[in-house]
Amino acid sequence: MKIKNLLVLLVVLLATYGILIAVAELPPYGMPDNPVHNQVSERYINDALEETGVLNMVTSIVLDYRAYDTMFETIVLFTAALAVVITLKSWKKEGDGR
């Protein structure tokens, strides 16, 4: 039991080390030459109003540029609600043992 605990500790420390190395490699926050600021975000900022006619840029991305994503997001919501209803609803039936 004790050896197992030590092994778990070792694995956790190794994973923490790996994650910390990855975090140290991240570019500093908010710098203008970060790789996030590429032509995609530039196009959204410059052309979103003209291409969609919507003032709220988040809505223009969520419901126009990334409309497929949002559509399947709503389907995920639908599936989640369906699963909860099927699992938890008390289906009343005579002679059912539950």
């Binding site: 969609t52 919507v54 409309a67 709503t74 938890l88």
Partner: protein, 141 residues
């Protein structure tokens, strides 16, 4: 719950909550917020009502049939709005590309399909919240 103050406060707040939820859904493309946030506010108003006054009264306000209907057809509405692009000979979910008038930026009628899709998504999210709440709070017979 039998607390008098709680009941009165909820009765006063409830209409404003509902109107605010609809406002956030309808103005999702002009002001901060959006259909998801507005739908959650709208669902929360019904959840607050049925928490204070009891599940039975809440179910009397929003029957299960309405919930099932809005939940299913909200998703279908999204797909239907996407079909507008295909009918006009453009890709699925095309908005300005399909020649739909996007209007003056800042007006409530701007955005073309975006505002229509937003209404559907908002009502869907609200009905999902209420369905989850009603199903989970149901007592064992």
């Amino acid at each position: 719950m039998k607390d008098f103050i709680l009941k009165r406060v909820v009765v006063i707040i409830l209409p404003f909550l509902c109107v605010y939820g609809f406002y956030v859904i309808l103005h999702g493309h002009v002001s901060p917020g959006g259909s998801f946030a507005g739908g959650i506010i709208l669902g929360l108003s019904i959840i607050a009502y049925s928490t204070i006054f009891g599940i039975e009264k809440g179910k009397a306000k929003i029957p299960e049939k309405v919930l099932v209907w809005t939940e299913s057809y909200g998703t279908l509405w999204y797909g239907l709005m996407g079909m507008v692009g295909i009918v006009k000979g453009f890709p699925f979910l095309a908005n300005k590309l399909a020649g739909i008038d996007v209007g003056v930026p800042g007006a409530l009628s701007s955005g073309g399909l975006i505002s229509l899709i937003g209404i559907g998504v908002g009502i869907r999210v609200a009905s999902t919240m209420v369905t989850l709440f009603f199903t989970m709070m149901e007592e064992e017979p």
